[in-house]
Symmetry: C2
Subunit: 360 residues, 2 copies
């Protein structure tokens, strides 16, 4: 029996990944110099595909790090002048906040309990905030931050840098980049790739901000400050020898998704989410972990297991049938399960999942 990973961390690989890796080995992608024209062509192709897939405007920059976690550090070092506001309602938004504090920034923490989203009418961002951090999809709780709310924040705070953690919503997320300044993700979730690569997208405003900060004498970091990353990326290169296999497969899977059509990829995600949430709603022992529909994630589906039944039993039951899902995160480990809804998870797989959940 083959196991399918519907996990919200690393997840099932996109079905074309194995073939792309084999092709990469044939083409010596991991062997040629990262200062060669062959590498530059590959880097340029990957950037072009990522931009097309996500609708990134031509004047935005795309650079690569070791992880999305690294991007938190790079943003704190390079793009927060003095004070950042953080919407915190889960472990990952909390961690970005902790990074900003560790790098000596003043912070405003706008907090909600786990499982809840934000109501902008209740939020008052401090006037001296120069950076706003938004986790568009909290992998730990399955709460999303609607793009309309991001656009409202943009209008109210035109000068602040707005940075979007889209780790578990790319490539589903359909966002107007002209209303944000930076977005980042890692490749092992929605893209279905082996981990080991963070993707950091940002506009010229972020670069200008870093210049201003640097002019004050602050050290913005070493080999991966925004200038070094950018100087190399402008030549289709990286500062250090990179995970070239990861870069190559990212470009190829992005191309696959573009060919499939991003509208279809997104509507399939909606369809599978509706299917699974419907089964949760109909089940007497299950409930939505995120009660408010407006902020309920389509890509990380978190389910409450009611008292009397056990989340662990549900996980074991599914894994006995070959479907591996994630446990609840942190404090919710005993009472929740989390199920990824990424492009690699087919409708057929979701039919099977829903049948099993109904029968539980």
């Amino acid at each position: 029996m083959k196991n399918y990973h519907l996990t919200a961390g690393p997840s099932e690989l996109y079905f074309t990944v194995e073939q792309h890796i084999q092709q990469a080995l044939k083409e010596n992608i991991a062997v040629v110099s990262h200062r060669s024209a062959a590498f530059q062509d590959m880097f340029g192709f990957t950037v072009s595909q990522v931009k097309e897939m996500l609708g990134v405007p031509a004047d935005f920059h795309v650079v690569f790090t070791g992880s999305a976690t690294e991007v938190w550090e790079r943003l704190a070092q390079n793009c927060i002048t003095k004070k950042s506001a953080h919407f915190v309602n889960g472990s990952f938004s909390e961690r970005f906040h902790a990074f900003a504090e560790a790098w000596g920034m003043e912070t405003q923490k706008i907090e909600k309990p786990l499982g809840e989203g934000f109501n902008l009418n209740e939020v008052d961002i401090d006037k001296d905030v120069d950076f706003i951090a938004i986790t568009q999809n909290e992998t730990s709780t399955g709460v999303q931050f609607p793009v309309e709310d991001i656009y409202s924040l943009r209008k109210e705070h035109p000068n602040a840098i707005i940075a979007i953690d889209a780790v578990s919503s790319v490539p589903y997320l359909n966002i107007d980049f002209n209303q944000i300044d930076s977005l980042f993700f890692s490749v092992q979730k929605g893209m279905g790739l082996p981990a080991g690569l963070g993707v950091w997208i940002f506009n010229e405003k972020c670069v200008d901000r870093a210049k201003e900060i640097k002019a004050t004498g602050r050290h913005l970091g070493g080999y991966h400050d925004i200038f070094t990353l950018l100087k190399n990326a402008s030549k289709n290169m990286t500062p250090a020898t990179p995970n070239a296999l990861g870069l190559y497969t990212l470009g190829k899977v992005s191309e696959d998704l573009i060919r499939r059509d991003m509208d279809i990829v997104r509507s399939e995600t909606d369809y599978k989410a509706a299917l699974l949430y419907g089964a949760v709603n109909a089940h007497k022992d299950l409930d939505y972990a995120v009660k408010e529909e407006r902020v309920r994630s389509k890509t990380v589906i978190v389910i409450d297991v009611k008292e009397g039944r056990s989340a662990k039993d549900l996980m074991t039951y599914l894994s006995d049938k070959g479907l591996i899902v994630s446990s609840g995160y942190g404090a919710n480990k005993a009472t929740q399960i989390r199920i990824a809804n990424f492009p690699t998870h087919s409708k057929e797989l979701y039919f099977q999942l829903v049948d099993l959940i109904e029968a539980w």
Copy 2:
């Protein structure tokens, strides 16, 4: 015709890599959670194999970064209290020095022209130096730093942290870890693996040093400071979702080399180096780039092309026969070529290379 990369950057993959990647994909190495027991087992195996391969004592720690370049930054942040001494005779030792300066350290730069090694009788390390950086094998020039000289420095400077950049000498390098405090490398050179992973080995003295520095209030970096790396490694984990495919193949290729026997791996390297240097010596238009035998690298062989012949022609001649070598680095691009001598480069490949060079 198959091309063979004898390049000194990324190089030909070790011949078992493709099969290990296929096995990794079968075993879901890139899919399972980096917080799972399966991941922990894999991480533990890789650390054990790296330690056995290089003779690392049990009380040393092994952690992983995105690149060896990243380790320069981590050492500067975590292990240099105030002043570091750097032996600089090429681009990579120069860059480590630049990192220390950028992080606000005082530095002593002990410099030699490209192609020359150090004579410790001429070197006087400042009394207030607390950290000594040694590039054991300069990839840019093919100059090595003999281990006996490292042991002499240890005796004279028992309190300084001695950190060894072994990027292009692992796994050939046979060093007594009890006479150093830290060693680091990346996997795309001597190990013959796809790039995207740095390996940082250090002892408890480095951890104590970081504790002392932290106590002064200095921020040692974020997600990859020595404490966060260590706390995770002690559970066979990483702070962020890592390049799990890279970790797995590193463990497997280390195991392959141990099975082959490290003494044999090293003596084959010596044999191939002798063969190639012999051909260089016998050729009227070629010369050793490193004149002093004592510091002439066995793993990165740099050849001067005498006036009247062209290094570029030699590279093209070899590449027409399927053998890809590196150009000279930086200022030496027009007059030198660099040839890697790693475990993946077989004796048969070297016979062919030497025949071609003799006939040029």
